[in-house]
């Protein structure tokens, strides 16, 4: 069952995290110090929030590659407003508003016009990035209001990053949303079998639009964290390699790119893992470019392994005997293959 396999994957992630931890420790004993451990995730929290947003879209069976661009565009709006004298908290609200709006555009194009989400978000990826360029005009904006910056970059008693609390808050909230609410159940249902969901009276269109809006909203929160942590923004923020990192986190977290499965815990763990790996590579003085290469390799490996596991899972189900029902256990795939050649209506 989707849940059970996810748990197996989560265990694997925990094991990998521990292994990586040992590796990091051999590189530098400083690694295990509490301050360091707590600060491990901090530079990647904005990526983690983007990953949560992407996860929701993937679970319902679509894809959204414009998340980083939405973040950049809304951060650009913030910088422009603040530079022009607007109150920082109003500007922060504007960030969320703009990001949600950008997500809504995606949602309308995919959900209502029924355009392929990959092609659409490829176009909006460029469009929103262009928006960021146009708003910032190549300028780098820095030095935002100190209280605001605390959200993304501040620490409690010099050790506990506030952004980490924010991150876990979202993880808990979104996790509950996915696993304990009707909304979450509908997401999994639509992602597994959109037509069956429609037949059951589920408001499929509305749900599809709303996940893209959610993705946009998460991009807005990611922008706030980003602005706080880096205390600066330029139009190139979160470009290709960050997008790739987000996708890697999501895929490594056990979310299927075909829809219908994935968990917040998995994404959370994989975020920790990716942060650990990068951190470890830094300790090993590996250049950031090679780090990018490694993460890219990680993404590819994760998908290839995922492909193998899916084939295996189907095979395993086929092998399972249930009394006299052995031959009738036909997976949806095989059934689809056998009925591809249309014979009935």
């Amino acid at each position: 069952m989707a849940r059970r396999t996810a748990t197996r994957w989560e265990v694997l992630l925990v094991v990998l995290i521990l292994v990586c931890g040992v590796w990091s420790w051999t590189l530098s004993p400083f690694f295990l110090q509490r301050a360091n451990l707590l600060d491990l995730l901090t530079p990647y929290i904005f990526l983690g929030l983007l990953a949560f947003g992407l996860m929701f879209v993937l679970v319902i069976g679509e894809i959204d590659i414009s998340g980083c661009s939405m973040m950049a565009a809304s951060a650009a709006v913030f910088a422009w407003l603040v530079h022009g004298g607007t109150n920082v908290w109003l500007a922060a609200a504007a960030v969320l508003g703009v990001a949600t709006l950008l997500g809504l555009v995606n949602g309308l194009l995919v959900g209502i016009l029924n355009l392929p989400s990959l092609a659409v978000t490829l176009g909006t990826l460029a469009t929103y990035r262009g928006l960021a360029y146009v708003i910032l005009r190549g300028n780098v904006r820095t030095g935002f209001q100190p209280t605001f910056v605390q959200i993304g970059g501040g620490y409690i008693s010099n050790e506990l990053p506030i952004s980490l609390l924010v991150f876990f808050g979202f993880a808990i909230g979104l996790g509950l949303l996915l696993q304990t609410t009707r909304f979450g159940r509908y997401l999994y249902t639509i992602g597994s079998n959109r037509e069956a969901a429609r037949y059951s009276g589920i408001a499929v269109t509305r749900m599809r639009v709303s996940v893209f809006v959610l993705s946009g909203l998460m991009a807005g929160f990611a922008a706030i964290i980003y602005l706080g942590f880096f205390d600066s923004v330029e139009a190139d923020a979160a470009s290709a390699s960050e997008l790739m990192a987000v996708i890697t986190i999501v895929v490594l977290g056990g979310v299927s790119i075909f829809g219908g499965s994935g968990s917040v815990v998995g994404v959370l763990l994989s975020c920790v893992l990716v942060a650990e790996i990068r951190n470890g590579m830094q300790l090993a003085s590996i250049s950031s470019y090679v780090q990018d290469i490694v993460v890219g390799g990680l993404l590819i490996t994760a998908i290839a392994v995922g492909n193998l596991t899916r084939a295996e899972r189907t095979h395993a189900l086929l092998q399972k005997t249930l009394g006299g029902f052995r031959k009738e256990v036909i997976s949806a795939e095989t059934h689809a293959q056998e009925t591809h050649v249309p014979s009935r209506q």
């Binding site: 429609r198 249930l322 009738e328 050649v341 009935r344």
Partner: protein
């Protein structure tokens, strides 16, 4: 007397899907230069035979001989290499390419330098097209071609690849009378050319016109193979259908009340037209007809899945606009789809999740899931319908076909509908489950539910229905009371034969 072996011979072919036997002991021969018709009701096994011939599935028993030699047709490509080509109602084409390119796809004739020989392709395709007397040329984009033309395109493809056996599965279902005539003339010409043709159609009058030999299948069994001239239409129907009604279905007596659903002039352009009927409380109304008659399409439109171009619906006297499944459910109308795997179930999820899928809003106060309520609901239906599974948490994918169907039925019963449309509820299901489902249906009617039963199994329709509506070619052609409805009359109506021919 022929000395040469037949092109294809089937000997003792059998195929099972789990508990259900799709084919048993099928034996007949297909000769070159003859049109071999295969007749039978829905589910008689015609499609399964075609799939075996085209290498899509493998038989469990028996052997296949091609020109006298036993052969195994591993996959569609092997079938193509043997010269076996199949054409379906939905032609497989490349819509973005031209006619000529579709014909030669994957087999472009090459010149010196290995380049494509367009001139040769164009002239050859033109020649074939002219032979087929079509009115489109080799350079026409296939996306602009209608179904009839796409079918002719597939025939052209078959001719171009030197097909020896052309299987046509319900080729005339979407054609106008003119196009049918044209197609028959083409088939005749193919026959002269020595090609063997297998022609599957439920239009019996066509069968008698075009076929040289007819094989009749029933319930997966081979009933007879006879030269067409010897077979009258009535004889054909008798062979297709003739079985004793045997086991009667447990039909409770139900008090039939007022009209609960009224449909007037329902039309969907190109699919069905002017369908009008009434359903009464406590009634089980059967909707019979061949595949393609439009029964499922009518149901889908009533349920709000597809748009209606014209017509009115009213439920319990008030007008009803079938805007979406949600709207239908709100008015107490539910639809159990024909294809349970594609449209009915979410396979990776549990029984409980599937059963509660359509009623989740009532089970989730404030939007939060209550797993225990779902389990209780599922357990209730598991007991009521005798679903054999470990627990409500079991994943639906691992259930047998029959139990899966019961889960889908549970889902719709959980909605507590006033009107329930069932589309092939016992399709692909073992005998015990069939009985359980029938018992449940009958009981529901007794409790005041209204049921519209779409089925291709005549005994089921005749056994369960208080009234039988028959559709043919998108129109409602007959309404028979329980007393009037016999297998022959239903088939006659479904085949479009008017009453005058006794």
């Amino acid at each position: 007397m022929r000395e040469t072996p037949p092109l294809i011979e089937l000997r003792g072919i059998g195929k099972s899907y789990g508990g259900a036997r799709a084919l048993s002991d099928i034996s007949f021969s297909i000769q070159r230069g003859m049109v071999h018709g295969i007749a039978g009701e829905n589910g008689a096994g015609k499609s399964t035979v075609v799939k075996i011939l085209t290498g899509v599935i493998h038989p469990d028993e028996g052997e296949l001989l091609v020109e006298g030699k036993p052969r195994r047709i591993h996959d569609p490509r092997t079938a193509l290499r043997l010269g076996i080509v199949a054409m379906y109602q939905e032609p497989t084409v490349f819509p973005d390419l031209t006619v000529a390119e579709n014909v030669v796809a994957g087999r472009h004739p090459r010149g010196r330098l290995g380049t494509v020989r367009w001139r040769q392709i164009r002239s050859e395709v033109s020649r074939i097209l002219k032979e087929l007397r079509v009115d489109f040329g080799p350079d026409t984009l296939v996306s602009g071609l209608g179904i009839a033309d796409r079918q002719l395109l597939e025939i052209a493809k078959a001719l171009s690849s030197d097909a020896r056996l052309l299987i046509m599965d319900e080729p005339t279902a979407a054609l106008s009378p003119n196009e049918v005539e044209n197609l028959f003339a083409t088939v005749g010409r193919l026959r002269e050319g020595g090609i063997a043709i297998v022609f599957i159609s439920h239009r019996l009058e066509e069968m008698s016109v075009i076929a040289d030999v007819v094989t009749v299948l029933r319930d997966g069994r081979h009933i007879d193979t006879r030269p067409a001239p010897e077979l009258t239409r009535d004889e054909l129907i008798r062979l297709m259908v003739g079985r004793s009604l045997g086991a009667l279905f447990p039909k409770e007596e139900a008090a039939i009340g007022d009209v609960v659903l009224r449909a007037q002039g329902l039309t969907r352009q190109g699919v069905f037209s002017n369908v009008s009927f009434e359903l009464r409380r406590g009634e089980i109304v059967g909707l019979a007809g061949f595949v393609g008659a439009g029964r499922t399409e009518v149901a889908r439109s009533i349920f709000g899945l597809d748009p209606l171009d014209a017509g009115e619906l009213s439920i319990e006297g008030r007008r009803f606009e079938p805007r979406s499944p949600r709207a239908a459910l709100r008015r107490g109308l539910a639809y159990l789809p024909e294809d349970r795997l594609q449209f009915g179930l979410v396979l990776p999820m549990s029984i409980a999740a599937n059963v509660s899928m359509a009623v989740l809003p009532t089970l989730t106060p404030a939007g939060f899931l209550r797993p225990r309520r779902e389990r209780v609901l599922a357990a209730r239906f598991m007991k009521q319908l005798r679903i054999k599974a470990g627990s409500p948490a079991q994943v639906v994918q691992s259930l047998s076909g029959g139990n899966q169907q019961k889960v889908v039925l549970s889902k719709w019963l959980a909605v507590e509908p006033r009107i329930l449309i069932l589309d092939e509820p016992t399709h692909g299901v073992d005998v015990a489950t069939k009985a359980d489902v029938h018992r449940a249906i009958s009981h529901l009617a007794g409790q005041g539910l209204t049921l519209l039963l779409i089925s291709s199994e005549l005994p089921e329709i005749l056994g369960m229905s208080d009234r039988v509506l028959v559709m043919s070619e998108g129109c409602l052609v007959a309404e028979l009371s329980r007393a009037e409805a016999t297998q022959e009359r239903v088939i006659q109506a479904a085949a479009g034969i008017t009453e005058s021919v006794a």
